[in-house]
């Protein structure tokens, strides 16, 4: 399995390289190092979110509410900043992460304690969280001039040549990698998704593990909420509308199995980068907006198709074993 995964990730690296080569044919400046750094920076938020989604998907769940969580946390961060301009930024970030985690906990608790299918839970909370933003803001926007300069500056500030936003995503990749590979919780995510029954026998609390996964995705969504709002310098009800699909697409492209148990940090990051390159390249290679939509969709379908084929083989084997037990 490890070998297969490795191949998949190499395959993805190959695909991104080919993609970059194709883009260069139409728009050479795209591969300039400065521009690639910009593309990475632009994809940073998607990467952070994909890492959270990965943890959830690994446990055979899904979090459709991530973008709504991001929007709500972001709105609260922006409103805090607008109401109390003197509040230190780290405190606002902490508030956003705390709120995001709390919202994730609601998802997790519903999945854990009430045993409702995750897709239903998060579909419900998605709408609830979006609705809450409206209730909170009254449908009003928080605009650039209402945010303090420090609030907007943090993700843009440069540290050793790169924006803080890029550094932050790199730190997150590192942390999640350690979590996944070096901690009991990280291994439990894989175990719960790979075979929940076997996980129970090894003493893993499946519900609690899923709950933890939702907390993680919530916390990352909360952090991204602040980053999003300060990067685009605007907060309103519909920010990041539909972005949950991009996050899931990044995971799927990255080879994280929707059936749970299979996936890696590198896969999620590469999946997000693949989408990020496409999103950033489409505006400059000058093709019709309708073709853009078709291309984005096609890429996702191809990735899912490749993934599904791989999964079907895997799935059968696991099921047969389970039945044999």
């Amino acid at each position: 399995m490890a070998k297969f995964l490795k191949n998949r990730e190499l395959l993805l690296v190959g695909a991104i390289t080919v993609l970059l080569a194709l883009i260069t044919l139409r728009f050479p400046p795209f591969v300039a190092p400065a521009n690639l750094a910009r593309v990475y920076n632009d994809t940073s938020i998607l990467i952070i979110l994909a890492l959270g989604q990965m943890a959830v998907i690994l446990t055979r769940c899904i979090d459709l509410s991530m973008a709504a969580n991001l929007a709500l946390s972001g709105m609260v961060a922006a409103m805090l900043n607008a109401a109390f301009p003197g509040l230190p930024i780290p405190l606002i970030i902490l508030a956003a992460i705390t709120l995001g985690t709390a919202l994730g906990m609601i998802n997790g608790a519903l999945v854990w304690k009430l045993d409702i299918p995750p897709i239903v839970v998060t579909l419900g909370t998605l709408t609830i969280y979006r609705g809450l933003i409206f209730l909170l803001s009254g449908g009003k926007w928080i605009n650039a001039h209402q945010m303090s300069d420090a609030f907007k500056a943090l993700p843009r500030d440069e540290l050793v040549g790169f924006p803080v936003l890029s550094w932050l995503s790199l730190v997150m990749i590192g942390l999640i990698f350690l979590l996944m590979s070096r901690t009991a919780l990280g291994r439990a995510f894989y175990a719960v998704g790979g075979n929940p029954h076997a996980a129970v026998y090894t003493g893993i609390d499946v519900g609690r593990t899923r709950f933890s996964a939702y907390c993680l995705s919530g916390a990352l969504a909360g952090l991204s909420g602040y980053l999003w709002v300060s990067r685009y310098a605007v907060a309103y009800v519909d920010i990041a509308a539909g972005f949950e699909l991009d996050i899931i697409a990044a995971c799927v492209i990255g080879g994280i199995s929707i059936a749970g148990g299979i996936g890696s940090v590198a896969g999620a990051v590469l999946g997000a980068l693949f989408l990020g390159v496409i999103k950033n390249a489409l505006p400059v290679i000058n093709i019709s907006p309708f073709a853009q939509m078709a291309i984005s969709g096609m890429v996702i379908i191809i990735a899912v198709a490749v993934n599904a084929r791989a999964e079907r083989r895997k799935g059968r084997v696991i099921l047969r074993k389970a039945e044999a037990v």
Partner: protein, 329 residues
């Protein structure tokens, strides 16, 4: 038959009496808005009060539901009918749902017009659009051209590629493009009214067209995202972001210089004009295709085949007035 006839006569006479009684006092014009407490409509009320003051014998009743629902507006309209107002000027929450209630009002001799957000043709005597597609199309390119005496490359950042409004405005803009010498529209891109996509599309424009001088975004999400992207790229002063936006959302970007000016209809003028038109109708003016109705200081409006008219050019906001309007909407 005879009974019916006499009944009808009685009804007609009493109705006429009632109408007379109402006319003896000030004329009551109800300004019905989508919901109370929205800055845009509060501003429209300000304009309506200004019109009432100017006219002298008019009392403006500013009302509406507490949330933007058609049911709420129907209730409000029914109570206005009971109060025997002389005219109702409504910005509708639903094109069709209000028609029966407004028909009832017209049957009672109340003049009904819609403004801002219209109702179906059979539910009103006329509709006042804040502006027309042709005026908006002309305005957005004019905004770019006014700051480019030497001419130069400009690009359009729209909402989605299928957005009817935006596509019509852009088409109208292209029609009059020849009037603005040296202005070269190099691209139209679509940000889908998503902040992140609009931001990315703007970055793409900056990369693809190094000589870009202005970005026209006829959408409120797009114009804000474009202004932010221009700011982040350090292109303030080099690329001017303009188009249609709200003062409260654009105030910061005007201050930073990312946007020199932008436009949107002026709600004060809109409330003023709606009141003036209602007054015209009360005083016997007829709303029919081709008719020209007076709107006080806003001039006249000419009705088209659907009894619709356009008030004026979108109102231009710049560093001088944006702060003041940002408080309103």
């Amino acid at each position: 038959m005879k009974i019916l006839k006499s009944l009808m006569v009685t009804a007609a006479v009493s109705l006429a009496l009632m109408a007379n009684a109402a006319h003896a006092e000030n004329k009551k014009i109800a300004l019905v808005v989508k919901a109370l407490g929205i800055g845009f409509f509060e501003a429209a009320n300000k304009g309506a009060q200004e019109a009432a003051k100017e006219l002298g014998d008019v009392e403006v009743i500013y009302t509406g539901p507490t949330s933007t629902t058609a049911e709420g507006q129907i209730e409000v309209i029914n109570s206005l009918i009971a109060q025997k107002v002389d005219a109702i000027a409504v910005s509708a929450n639903d094109t069709d749902a209000l028609v029966p209630a407004l028909k009832k009002a017209m049957d009672r001799g109340i003049k009904v017009i819609s403004w801002d957000s219209g109702v179906a043709k059979e539910g009103r005597m006329m509709h006042l659009n804040p502006s027309s597609n042709a005026l908006i199309g002309n305005m957005i390119i004019k905004l770019a051209a006014d700051n480019l005496p030497e001419g130069g490359d400009v690009a359009v950042l729209s909402a989605s590629a299928t957005a009817t409004n935006q596509n019509t405005w852009i088409a109208e803009m292209k029609k009059v493009q020849g009037n603005y010498k040296g202005i070269n529209v190099v691209a139209t891109v679509y940000g889908d009214d998503l902040a992140d996509k609009s931001y990315r599309e703007t970055q793409g424009l900056i990369q693809s067209y190094p000589n870009l001088k202005a970005i026209i975004a006829p959408t409120s999400v797009g114009i804000v995202a474009a202004a932010q992207a221009v700011t982040d790229a350090g292109k303030i002063g080099q690329i001017n972001v303009t188009g249609l936006g709200l003062p409260s959302e654009m105030a910061g970007h005007v201050k930073s210089g990312a946007s020199k000016s932008f436009a949107i209809w002026n709600p004060i003028d809109l409330g003023y004009s709606a009141t003036m038109l209602s007054y015209d109708l009360i005083n016997g003016a007829e709303a029919k295709p081709g008719a020209e109705l007076k709107m006080g200081r806003m001039g006249t409006v000419k009705l088209d085949d659907n009894n619709e008219g356009a008030m004026a050019d979108p109102f231009v906001y710049d560093a001088k007035n944006v702060e003041e309007f940002a408080k309103i909407f």
